[in-house]
C-alpha cells in the first residue's frame, strides 16, 4: 500500500478501491445509515403536496388531489408580485450580503493589535443573538423619522429624514441593510477560520516579491480561502428564494406589501390562519425546486472554475 501507484487512479478496479478504502467506508457507512433513517424514511411526507391531509387518516391514507396545492400557490392573485419581491430581495441580499462577511474577515485579518481584533470580532457577532422581534422594536425607534437619531443626523445636515420602514421606496434598502448588518459578524466566522490556515510563508514570499497590501490580499489571502468561498457561494445562491422570514415578517406593514411581501410572509398569512400541511409542503417543494435548479447550475459553473464544488 505504501507504494505510490503512478497509474491513473480511476482505472483502478472497484474491488481494489474497496479494499484500499475499507476503513474509510467503515467511517462513512454509519453516517449514511443515519441519513437513510432520519432523512429518507420520512421522505414520503413530500407526497402531502399532492394530497389533502386528513389528520386521522395519516399521510399515506389521505386522498390524492393532484396539483391543487401548487395551483393555489402559483395562481393566487398576488403570487407574481410576491415572487418578484422574493427574488429582488434575495438578489440584493446576495449581492451585498455575500461579500460583506468576506470583506469583514479580510479587514479583520489586516488589523494589527490582537486585543482590539479579538474584542471587535466578538462584538461583531452580538446581533446574531438578538431576535428580529426585539431588533424591530429597536429599529423602529432608531429609524423613526421624527424621534430617531438617524433622522436627527439628517436634519442636522439639512436633509429631510427618510421614513426607512414606512416608505416603499426605501423598504428594500432597509431590509437588505439591516439584514446584512445582523449577519455580518456571524457570517465572517467561517472565513476567519479559513484564513487561519493560509500559509504564512506565502505572505512573506509575496512581500519579498514586492507585492503591496492589495496584491497580497488578491493573490494570497483570497486564493487561500477559495474553497470556503466557493461553498458559501453555492449555498447562498441556493437560498436566493429563502427570504429572511423573521426579519420581514416583523418589519412589514401594509404600506410596504407592494415591495416587501415575500413568499414566506405571504404563505404565513395564508397558512397560520388556515394551517394547511399539504399547502405548506407544496410551497416548500416549489421553493426547493428553484433552489435545486440554481444550485445545480452554480455547481456546474464552480466545477469548471475549481475543484471545491458541492459535488
Amino acid at each position: 500500500m505504501s507504494v505510490k501507484a503512478p497509474a491513473i487512479k480511476t482505472s483502478q478496479s472497484l474491488g481494489y478501491r474497496i479494499k484500499k478504502h475499507k476503513l474509510h467506508l467503515m467511517m462513512i457507512i454509519p453516517v449514511m445509515i443515519w441519513y437513510i433513517i432520519f432523512k429518507y424514511l420520512p421522505i414520503y411526507g413530500v407526497t402531502l403536496a399532492w394530497k389533502e391531509f386528513y389528520i386521522l387518516k395519516g399521510i399515506t391514507g389521505s386522498p390524492w388531489v393532484g396539483w391543487v396545492n401548487f395551483d393555489r400557490l402559483l395562481n393566487s392573485y398576488d403570487f407574481k408580485n410576491v415572487f418578484t419581491n422574493t427574488l429582488i430581495l434575495g438578489f440584493w441580499n446576495f449581492v451585498i450580503g455575500f461579500p460583506a462577511p468576506i470583506i469583514l474577515a479580510l479587514a479583520l485579518n489586516e488589523l494589527r493589535g490582537n486585543a482590539f481584533k479579538r474584542v471587535t470580532q466578538t462584538i461583531s457577532y452580538l446581533p446574531h443573538f438578538v431576535s428580529w422581534v426585539i431588533l424591530t422594536g429597536i429599529f423602529m425607534e432608531v429609524l423613526s423619522p421624527s424621534r430617531g437619531p438617524i433622522a436627527a443626523i439628517f436634519r442636522a445636515v439639512g436633509a429631510d429624514p427618510i421614513y426607512f420602514l414606512g416608505d416603499p421606496k426605501w423598504f428594500r434598502f432597509t431590509m437588505v441593510a439591516t439584514g446584512v448588518w445582523k449577519g455580518l459578524g456571524w457570517g465572517s466566522i467561517v472565513y476567519l477560520s479559513a484564513l487561519s490556515s493560509v500559509n504564512e510563508e506565502l505572505y512573506d514570499a509575496a512581500r519579498v516579491d514586492g507585492c503591496g497590501r492589495w496584491k497580497r490580499i488578491w493573490h494570497v489571502t483570497i486564493p487561500g480561502i477559495t474553497p470556503t468561498i466557493t461553498i458559501m457561494f453555492i449555498m447562498a445562491i441556493g437560498s436566493l428564494v429563502d427570504d429572511n422570514f423573521d426579519q420581514i415578517f416583523n418589519m412589514l406593514t401594509p404600506a410596504t406589501y407592494g415591495v416587501g411581501d415575500v413568499l414566506g410572509t405571504y404563505i404565513y398569512r395564508q397558512g397560520v390562519t388556515y394551517m394547511d400541511y399539504s399547502y405548506s409542503t407544496a410551497t416548500e417543494l416549489f421553493r426547493n425546486v428553484i433552489s435545486l435548479v440554481l444550485v445545480v447550475f452554480t455547481n456546474e459553473v464552480a466545477k469548471r472554475v475549481n475543484e471545491y464544488a458541492l459535488w
Binding site: 422581534v133 424591530t136 422594536g137 421614513y163 390562519t273 388556515y274
Partner: protein, 530 residues
C-alpha cells in the same frame, strides 16, 4: 369555614345570576363510579402544571378522576397540538385557538358532536349564564347545523374600545371636562390640534391622530374595514366594501393631506412594544388614540401594591396607563377617555372583541364511545364554570381562602400583605382548568376594575365585533389573504394620497371579483341559517 360563608354571601350580592350559584350535586350527573383518566387541555396555560400540584390532587379526588394535564406552548399552539394529534394522542378535552382549525377538525372527525341537549343536561348552570350573556354564543361552535363543542367567552369583550383624548389639549380648545361627541366636533378639534400648536412649543409638530385613532372614524361611517357588519337589511357585508367606506376614506385622505394624521401611522403606534401602547400619544405627537381596551386605561386604584415595584398584587393595571402615569412629562390627568364620535348617519363605534371569542372547547372523537367519561368531563367544566368556590380554588390556585379578606371595593385582599400568591403559584396557574371563563367570577374577584368600567358609559356604547362572522367559509382559505393584502394596500395608498379616491371603486369591483362575491354569499348563507 366562616370565611367561606362570608365569601359566598358577598358573592350573592354581586352576582345577578343566581343560577350560577347553585351547588353541584355530583350524584345527579355522574352515572359511573369508574375512575377515568382524562387527558386535559381545557384551557390555556403559560406554564405546565406541576405533577404534584395541590389543585390537581384536589380535582382528582373530588371528581374521582386521574388527570393527565397537557401543556401546549401558545406560540406554536396549532402546530404543536396538531402534530401530537397526528401522532395518535388526542386530548379528551381541548381548546381550539381559531375557528378555521375548528371547522377543519370537525370536518375531519377529530372532535365529536356535542348536542345542545347533552350540554343542557350535564351543565345546566353554565348553559344558563352563557345564553344569558349571549344567546348566539353557540353559533361559533356549530357546523352544518350541529353543535360540536363549548364556546369560549371573554367577559372583557362586553366592553367596546373607547378613544383617549389629550385632556390638556381639549381644555385649550374649549372642551373643559367634556369631549367632542360628533364626528363634526371631533374634526374641528382635530384641525386645531394640528394647526394651533396645542403643546405650545412654537413648532408645528403635532397631529390629531395616528393608526388606531382611525378606527373610530371608520366606525362613524358604519363599519370597520376588517369586520363583517350587518347592512341593516339582515345581510352581512364586509366593512371594506361597506357603503360608508368611500366617504370615510375621502375624509381620512383629506385629513392626511391637511396634516392631521401622523405620517408615521404606517408603522403603527406601538413601535414594536405591547400592542396597547401608543408611542405618539404618549409623546404628545397626537391627541387622539384608541390603542387598547378598558382595562388598559384604568386609573391606578389604591389596591394593595408592592411598595418596591409598584406592582399591584391583586389588580392588573393597564400598560398604557402605567407608562403614561410614570412619564415625567405626562400623567394620567392628561388622559380623557371619550366616546367614539357619532357620524352623520348616526353610526358610531370602535373596536370590540365581542363576548364570544373565536376559541372553542372541543372533545375527542374517542369520547363518542364513552358517554360516562364525557359526562364526568362536563361535570368538571360545569363546576369550575358555574361554582365560584370551585373556580376560586382552581383559577386562583388557592386552596386556603382563609388567607384572604373580602373587601367590597377591592375584592380579595390578603390577610397578610406580604402573602404573594403569584410568587407562590405563578400568575396564571390554573388557567388550564378555567375552561369557560365565567365573567361573573372575575367581577367578584376584581371588582374595582369592572366597577370602574361600568361607571364609564363610553365602554357600553357598542362597537364592531371581531366575531360577527366566526366561521370560515368554504372559499375563504383560497382567496382571503390576497383580498386582505389588496384591501390593506389600497386603503393605505388612498389615505396617503398615493392613489386618488376614485381607486376605491376599482378596489370594490376587484375585491368582489377576486373571491369577495363568493365569500359574501357563503357568509350570508351561514348568517341566514342561524
Amino acid at each position: 369555614m366562616k370565611k367561606l360563608v362570608s365569601l359566598l354571601l358577598a358573592l350573592a350580592m354581586v352576582l345577578s345570576c343566581t343560577a350560577a350559584m347553585a351547588a353541584i350535586d355530583p350524584a345527579k350527573v355522574v352515572k359511573s363510579d369508574e375512575k377515568f383518566t382524562i387527558a386535559w387541555l381545557g384551557g390555556h396555560d403559560t406554564t405546565p402544571m406541576e405533577e404534584d400540584s395541590l389543585v390537581i390532587a384536589w380535582l382528582e379526588e373530588k371528581f374521582n378522576v386521574e388527570l393527565d394535564c397537557w401543556f401546549v406552548d401558545r406560540s406554536s399552539y396549532d402546530e404543536l397540538l396538531t402534530t401530537r394529534i397526528i401522532g395518535g394522542d388526542v386530548p379528551d378535552i381541548f381548546l381550539m385557538e381559531n375557528n378555521q382549525q375548528f371547522s377543519k377538525f370537525v370536518k375531519q372527525g377529530v372532535c365529536m358532536e356535542l348536542p345542545i341537549e347533552v350540554i343542557k343536561e350535564h351543565m345546566p348552570n353554565s348553559y344558563a349564564w352563557l345564553i344569558e350573556y349571549d344567546p348566539s354564543c353557540f353559533d361559533n361552535v356549530s357546523y352544518a347545523g350541529k353543535n360540536y363543542g363549548l364556546p369560549r367567552v371573554n367577559g372583557d369583550g362586553q366592553y367596546n374600545y373607547a378613544p383617549m383624548w389629550r385632556a390638556d389639549w381639549l381644555d385649550k380648545f374649549g372642551y373643559v371636562d367634556t369631549v367632542p361627541m360628533t364626528l363634526a366636533e371631533a374634526e374641528e378639534v382635530f384641525y386645531k390640534m394640528a394647526n394651533e400648536d396645542p403643546d405650545g412649543n412654537g413648532v408645528k409638530d403635532t397631529y390629531a391622530l395616528s393608526n388606531t385613532g382611525m378606527l373610530p372614524i371608520y366606525g362613524a361611517f358604519g363599519a370597520l374595514p376588517d369586520r363583517w357588519v350587518d347592512d341593516g337589511e339582515g345581510n352581512l357585508v364586509y366593512g371594506a366594501v361597506h357603503s360608508g367606506m368611500k366617504d370615510a376614506l375621502t375624509l381620512l385622505a383629506k385629513w392626511y393631506k391637511d396634516g392631521l394624521i401622523d405620517p408615521e401611522f404606517v408603522t403603527g403606534e406601538n413601535a414594536g412594544g405591547h400592542w396597547s401602547l401608543s408611542i405618539p400619544f404618549e409623546n404628545g405627537v397626537v391627541g387622539f388614540s384608541s390603542p387598547g381596551a378598558f382595562y388598559q386605561a384604568t386609573p391606578d386604584f389604591d389596591g394593595p401594591t408592592n411598595e418596591e415595584t409598584g406592582e399591584g398584587s391583586n389588580f392588573n393595571f393597564g400598560k398604557t396607563v402605567r407608562t403614561l402615569a410614570n412619564n415625567p412629562e405626562f400623567g394620567y390627568e392628561k388622559v380623557r377617555i371619550g366616546y367614539n364620535p357619532v357620524g352623520e348617519n348616526g353610526y358610531h363605534g370602535g373596536d370590540s372583541w365581542g363576548f364570544t371569542t373565536s376559541e372553542a372547547l372541543v372533545f375527542s372523537y374517542k369520547l363518542e364511545e364513552q358517554p360516562e367519561k364525557l359526562a364526568r368531563i362536563l361535570e368538571i367544566v360545569e363546576a369550575i364554570g358555574s361554582d365560584y368556590d370551585t373556580w376560586w380554588k382552581i383559577f386562583k390556585w388557592d386552596l386556603e381562602p382563609e388567607n384572604y379578606n373580602y373587601d367590597e371595593l377591592l375584592g380579595y385582599v390578603p390577610v397578610d400583605p406580604a402573602y404573594d400568591r403569584a410568587a407562590k403559584y405563578g400568575e396564571n396557574h390554573g388557567n388550564l382548568f378555567n375552561s369557560l371563563q365565567n365573567p361573573n367570577f372575575r367581577k367578584v374577584y376584581d371588582p374595582a376594575q369592572y366597577n370602574w368600567a361600568d361607571s364609564m358609559p363610553m365602554y357600553k356604547t357598542g362597537g364592531y365585533s371581531r366575531v360577527k362572522l366566526p366561521v370560515t367559509t368554504e372559499s375563504q382559505p383560497k382567496y382571503w389573504t390576497a383580498m386582505e393584502t389588496l384591501r390593506e394596500t389600497t386603503f393605505m395608498q388612498i389615505i396617503t394620497g398615493e392613489q386618488p379616491i376614485e381607486a376605491y371603486d376599482a378596489f370594490v369591483q376587484q375585491w368582489y371579483s377576486m373571491g369577495g362575491e363568493q365569500i359574501t354569499k357563503e357568509a350570508n348563507e351561514w348568517y341566514h341559517s342561524l
